[in-house]
Assembly symmetry: C2
Homo-oligomer: 411 residues x 2
């Protein structure tokens, strides 16, 4: 089954917000075995919505529209749907009672006409009732294509998609989409493609291959669609078996924070951090996993030299002699923070994230990362590229990868 | 001038990545006075690219395409452009020398044919040379529409857009797009729309109004396009003057981190943080602004009780008596970290981000935030809702808002 997503909203077209709704819906569709073939963002104007809708209805069997269902004058999706489906608005009493209930829960007594008007829906539509807001989902059909219009507020949209699919999947047999992403580190994309040339040429025609390069790692995605999930899974497994004799890859698609958390739990290990350039980025990353306080103890953000001296006990002479961006200072940071927190492992980072700073030997992008434990210490000096945000995120990823490697070796 | 953006990539259509490139380009276009009327994401297939391109070329004067310019087999944009523009690929020696230079800088000596092939570009195209990667920007024209194809790697795409516009703006007079977003807090969208009904009806026809609701705040965006920037600015100012007599609004659209940075600079203020539940999130947020090390000194992440005791000198009795999630502990954290870093201001956070934890009095979502300075201290207890990530981000925003308020009062 093919689907299209239409996002309505000038805020996306002027770049004021990033279209995360479309990404979430696309991911949901894929997990349900539905192929999303196009995502279109158009402005809050009747003409552009109709054009996009016509194209989508002609070329797919499911269209999900988000945005423009609010109570204000700039919300025109409902009226546009009526005009497209040759329909008119009609009061829906279920929705009206939901709206009244919603206001009561919020302790608001003055229900305005504007609010009550949200119970007006196209007469031919089914509604998907909204437990978290006042605008219901609107479900219409035309020429074997189902059209679902949803409010743009992310948490309302998500629950309505889930409720819609409960209905939608009844009496429908959907295909399965299987996809597997693997990680190949430290081989540039072009070189990897060269190495995999023969393998790639021999891949089963039902399996699609994609290269997703990013600094330091290429993700390879293998995917297929079929009415037999087992068939595609077995084809992908077979291709990966062949691949494993050509190149070393990591098929752990787990989030790095979760990986650290799981390893710490298995090995009963605690962690602390001393962050200069990353300034809390690694700590906030580690703490994203619920329950992380069992292994992650905390850290010191020593953004200034003085804080390295006063809080971490780094010698001012060492900083003067070697600079605060140096292997020696990074080592001391990791060692001292581990002692202060009495943790099994520690991570330290110091470097130049840019855009200014840096020296001839250590230009912007140079970062030292140390992983320290009772068993010893490793420090890597790496030159990252990109803007400040990209550099810092790469440092975070690299530090967690180094930590995982060291924890794996730890007995 | 009207523009369209076409994003090519299955990774967007399956929801594996969020389309941040399109948001960045849309924002850039707007700032240049170009109206982005449509953003289309299509798969890496010739047919869907050609269909989107045809529609874009027919309906706009500028089309920016990203993705599919890499060296691997799944990258088909260049071939598709040749077929659309009835052109053929031809070696560009400037690009070839850029590629050789790029490899030399990276210390890689083996330039593969795959890499050299990136110097093949459509013969009718101008190239925008890429200082950060191997795929150049490709610029083609047809029927008064300019088409620019760029690689999808964000930092390469961004610099190529900037370089392209330097050329593109020569001999072209572009309109100005002016937009102003204001923030109205604690009035629900529908109630606000009701309050603003008359004002809205009387708005000058050259000004467009949009409501952008989110929990606790409605953003109102007023925008207009004209060859006279001053004219639109004055119209918007006039509407806002009228608005200010109806409702109280905040017109500061600056990023919170930047606001803190600017205020600190003006008032010569330094900051430190003691983060328990937010675990470095506030620190990493503050350090996102280049040059932030001038005012942000660092902090202590005291994720565990023991670290609150050992690193921040909180009394174990106080924690036992009041719990580590309490007003008193939060106050002490802020006071002590400020003393340790000798900063003018400090922020402390402690709370239950969930999904587990919490007590009857302080359920999941309860967070204490203290802002401390020489002049005194304020602590707020707030019950946030949402999942762990949403709660922590709300804490970050609230803490920065409280800090800004306190710094503003500080003389």
């Amino acid at each position: 089954m093919k689907a299209q997503i239409i996002s309505i909203g000038d805020e996306i077209l002027i770049g004021q917000i990033v279209n995360t709704n479309a990404a979430w819906i696309a991911n949901y569709l894929t997990s349900e075995g539905i192929e999303c073939t196009k995502i279109t963002t158009v402005s809050d104007s009747k003409e552009s919505i109709v054009t996009a809708l016509k194209n989508a209805v002609d070329n797919s069997e499911l269209v999900i529209i988000t945005g423009g269902l609010g109570p204000t004058n700039d919300d025109i999706t409902k009226h546009t749907l009526c005009s497209f489906f040759n329909d008119k608005l009609e009061k829906n009493n279920d929705v009206l009672s939901d709206i009244k209930k919603f206001f009561k829960q919020k302790g608001r007594s003055n229900i305005l006409d504007l609010n009550k008007d949200q119970a007006l829906v196209p007469s031919k539509s089914k509604v998907i009732r909204n437990p978290l807001g006042t605008a219901p989902g609107i479900w219409l059909s035309q020429n074997n294509c189902e059209v679902l219009a949803l409010p743009g507020v992310p948490y309302e949209m998500k629950i309505l998609v889930e409720h819609f699919f409960r209905e939608f999947k009844k009496n429908r047999k959907l295909d399965s989409i299987v996809q597997k992403t693997i990680f190949i580190r430290n081989i540039p994309e072009s070189q990897l493609a060269f190495m995999l040339k023969e393998w790639e040429a021999s891949i089963n025609k039902d399996i699609k291959l994609a290269y997703l390069p990013s600094p330091g790692v290429v993700r390879l995605r293998l995917s297929g669609i079929s009415n037999s999930k087992a068939k595609i899974e077995s084809l992908i497994k077979c291709e990966l078996d062949k691949l494993s004799s050509i190149v070393k890859y990591d098929d752990n698609s787990k989030d790095l924070n979760q990986l650290v958390y799981d390893l710490c739990k298995i090995k009963c290990i605690s962690i602390s951090v001393a962050e200069s350039c990353t300034s809390g980025l690694i700590a906030s990353s580690l703490s994203q996993v619920p329950g992380s306080s069992n292994s992650f103890l905390g850290g010191i953000i020593c953004y200034s030299d003085l804080s390295k001296i006063n809080l971490l006990g780094i010698s001012p002479d060492l900083i003067k002699k070697k600079s605060s961006v140096s292997k020696d200072v990074c080592f001391e940071m990791a060692q001292n923070v581990r002692n202060k927190f009495n943790s099994d492992f520690s991570i330290a980072t110091t470097g130049y994230a840019g855009p200014t700073g840096g020296t001839e030997d250590n230009p912007v992008g140079t970062v030292f990362i140390t992983i320290n434990s009772l068993k010893g210490s490793i420090t890597e000096k790496i030159l990252f590229s990109g803007d400040r945000k990209i550099i810092l995120n790469q440092v975070r990823i690299k530090a967690l990868e180094l930590l995982i490697n060291e924890i794996k070796k730890y007995e």
